[in-house]
Amino acid sequence: MTQAAPQATRSFHKLRVGETRLEIGGSAKTIVFDLPGALCETFRWRPGQHLTLRFNLSGEELRRSYSISSSPFSDDRRLSMRITVKRVEGGRISNHINDNLKAGDKVEVMPPFGGFCLDPGAMRRRTHYFFGAGSGITPLFAMIQSVLSDEPHSVVHLVDGNRNAATILFKDELDRLCDAYPGRLSVSHLLSSPSLWSGFRPWRKGKIDAAAIEAVFAEYPPYAQDVQYYICGPGDMNRFVRTALTSLDVPVSRIHMESYGGAVAQDDTIKGMAATARVTLGDSTQSIEVAEGQTLLEAARAAGLTPPFSCQSGVCGACRARLVKGSAEMRARMALEDTEISKGVVLTCQSLATSSELEVVYE
């Protein structure tokens, strides 16, 4: 596999919407992109990665990241890259997508990235537990599909939390996968406020808590003993599920998670200091001033540079760069693994200078 040049992978490309589909009674919309053959390599994704979309709404530039909700291992990758966007109350982009986006429209899309991934292996034999809630199912769905098709010796257990039966994303697709892969996929639906009139009987009522997880393990104990756990849900869910898992002896090294929407734990006590930073972006290097309390990303953009970024909340990892000199502290670091941090990788959208001279390389 050839790695596309960094410029191509971190800049926006205009993609045509091939097809759109309403989900869960119109509260979400699936967008399938038409990938031109020339961009297939640039847009090659790993299960779990996301796309950043850029819109210009009434003169304002807005960016959002959405997980790709399909497997990259389908027969025709040019027709399979899709995202599923749930309406968020007051969410400008999510509502714009749901209200207006249609087949034939062009959207600016940054190629896939993100470290919350599952790479299937033909000879690997694992038990994968997935804990998702709401639209957190989107990256998990891509992972699940990929394991079923491309990791044939492995087994998948999904625990999916939703408010009621009408809000379960991909419910029919999951049912179809269960039929297509008997004995390899179990799906346990939890509903926090199931509707009395719905004929659907969930596996359990309530949220994904320690009791629910213990019940899942008892009902579906791991068969293959290389066991991995993936969590993706809104707000505090990741932290709760992770705590519940570790309280049941699950080692953290086996837990993978991505925060999805909602608040991210932030350390606002970090103040930073004024500094000079040499920033390398592509082929050019430039010195810029960083004000006290200003992030490296803000400073770079204020100086007229166009570094990559997306969520600006430390979740997506688009703004990552390597600090080769000086020191900085991050308010949030969700998108980075500890090993990356130890190698000097920082999220520039979260980094405040803590030494007066810095050198930053976007790579």
Binding site: G121, M123, R124, R125, H153, E214, F217, A218, P221, P222, Y223, A224, Q225, D226, V227, L245, L248, D249, V250, P251
Partner: protein
């Protein structure tokens, strides 16, 4: 100089000398995936079992997440074995000698009189040494390394050549478990298991319900696969005449009898599924433990089937020799039990190996080719070619 006397590929001393035995222990039995029991042997958090796998003693324990962990059963203080056989622990494992205590992740969590006796002790470096465990076809396997790669890299290629049994759906029939200490080298036992030539001779009275002439067999990597169909006279009315409820659909009847390297035979038949675990104890002593799974059916279904098929088996199972011929009632050769026949043959063969007059004759081109191939595989492992 004397020319080494050969058992075809291996020298005779490979079957008699302590030195060969030690090399095999170190280079084969201590380095590969080893059978450790049935999946249901550990079914609750806290349950553990320990198993000798070559030179290694490894224990398996289930955490509250129901994942199995495996560690070398060696206290990091002065090496005492921590756990015996099987049992149940809570959240910690304490060494009987000086009470060093480990959690279920193998971390050393407490050392008595640590402050007084062990200044500056770094407990982080004294966790239990991790090993690996996995489940495959309803069986537990252990490997001495923490990261040996997927068990499918070891068994994946032979799996399609095994029986179509849904092993996880069968249940153990504990009364059928056996343990035999056979006075023969482990390779003699394995060679007997994979010797196709002997089936219609040694077992003429006990295994005639299979059609040996139509057997298909061969090695897939280091593992031996073998399949043969039912004999016509048995297949014709198998629903009535099977001694136990059938575990395979009618169009897939037959027996798969693979020998997974090193020394794990399976007997996957139309009515049962069993393991034949070969454990070398000494150059001339081998333990074989068997365990059997059968259909998950009621006692009533089993007794009906036994009753229905009784007359048929009365006619078709017999000793190799008649009691009248041998004059002894308690003889393996009149027993009508193929396991007893095999044990007898192995021990009789081993007895000759030390005789200065011992010499092997010709080896059957097809029916004994697995025997020669197995010897070659053993040699390849000892000489580092595998």
């Amino acid at each position: 100089m004397t020319v080494a006397r050969m058992m075809h590929v291996l020298p005779v001393e490979a079957y008699t000398s302590q030195e060969w035995f030690d090399r095999e222990q170190a280079q084969i039995f201590s380095k590969l995936w080893r059978f450790a029991g049935f999946s249901e042997d550990i079914s609750e958090p806290g349950q553990y079992l320990s198993v000798q796998a070559g030179l290694n003693n490894i224990f398996i324990v289930m955490g509250r997440d129901r994942r199995l962990r495996a560690f070398h059963n060696i206290c990091r203080h002065r090496g005492t074995q921590l756990l015996r056989a099987v049992g149940k622990t809570q959240k910690a494992i304490t060494c009987p000698y000086h009470d060093w205590t480990y959690d279920l992740e193998g971390r050393l969590v407490s050392v008595p009189e640590e402050a007084e006796e062990f200044t500056g002790l770094n407990k982080n470096c004294l966790g239990l040494k991790p090993a690996s465990v996995d489940l495959w076809r309803g069986m537990l396997f252990v490997h001495p390394e923490p990261d040996p790669g997927s068990i499918m890299e070891w068994f994946g290629k032979v799996e399609p050549h095994l029986g179509p049994h849904k092993v996880e759906e069968l249940v153990e029939y504990p009364q059928a478990a056996t343990s035999h200490d056979i006075k023969a080298n482990w390779k003699i036992v394995v060679e007997n298991y994979i010797d196709v030539y002997h089936l219609s001779h040694l077992h003429s009275g006990t295994l005639a319900m299979y059609d040996h002439a139509r057997a298909k067999y061969g090695f897939v990597g280091p593992h031996y696969a073998f399949w043969e169909p039912l004999a016509e006279f048995y297949a014709r009315d198998v629903e009535k005449n099977a001694p136990m409820p059938l575990v395979l659909p009618k169009d897939q009847l037959g027996a798969s009898v693979p020998m997974l390297f090193p020394g794990l035979g399976l007997g996957e038949s139309e009515t049962s599924w069993s393991t034949f675990h070969v454990i070398p104890l000494a150059p001339d002593l081998t333990r074989v433990e068997t365990r059997t799974r059968v259909k998950n059916a009621s006692d009533w279904e089993f007794s009906t089937q036994e009753w229905r098929s009784g007359a048929f088996w009365g006619k078709h199972i017999s000793g190799k020799y008649a009691v009248e011929e041998l004059g002894e009632a308690e003889d393996p050769m009149t027993s009508g039990d193929f396991m007893a026949e095999d044990v007898y043959a192995c021990e009789q063969q081993q007895k000759s190996l030390k005789s200065p007059y011992f010499e092997v004759g010709a080896s059957a081109e097809q029916g004994e080719s697995p025997v020669r191939q197995h010897q070659q595989i053993v040699l390849d492992f000892l000489e580092g070619r595998r």
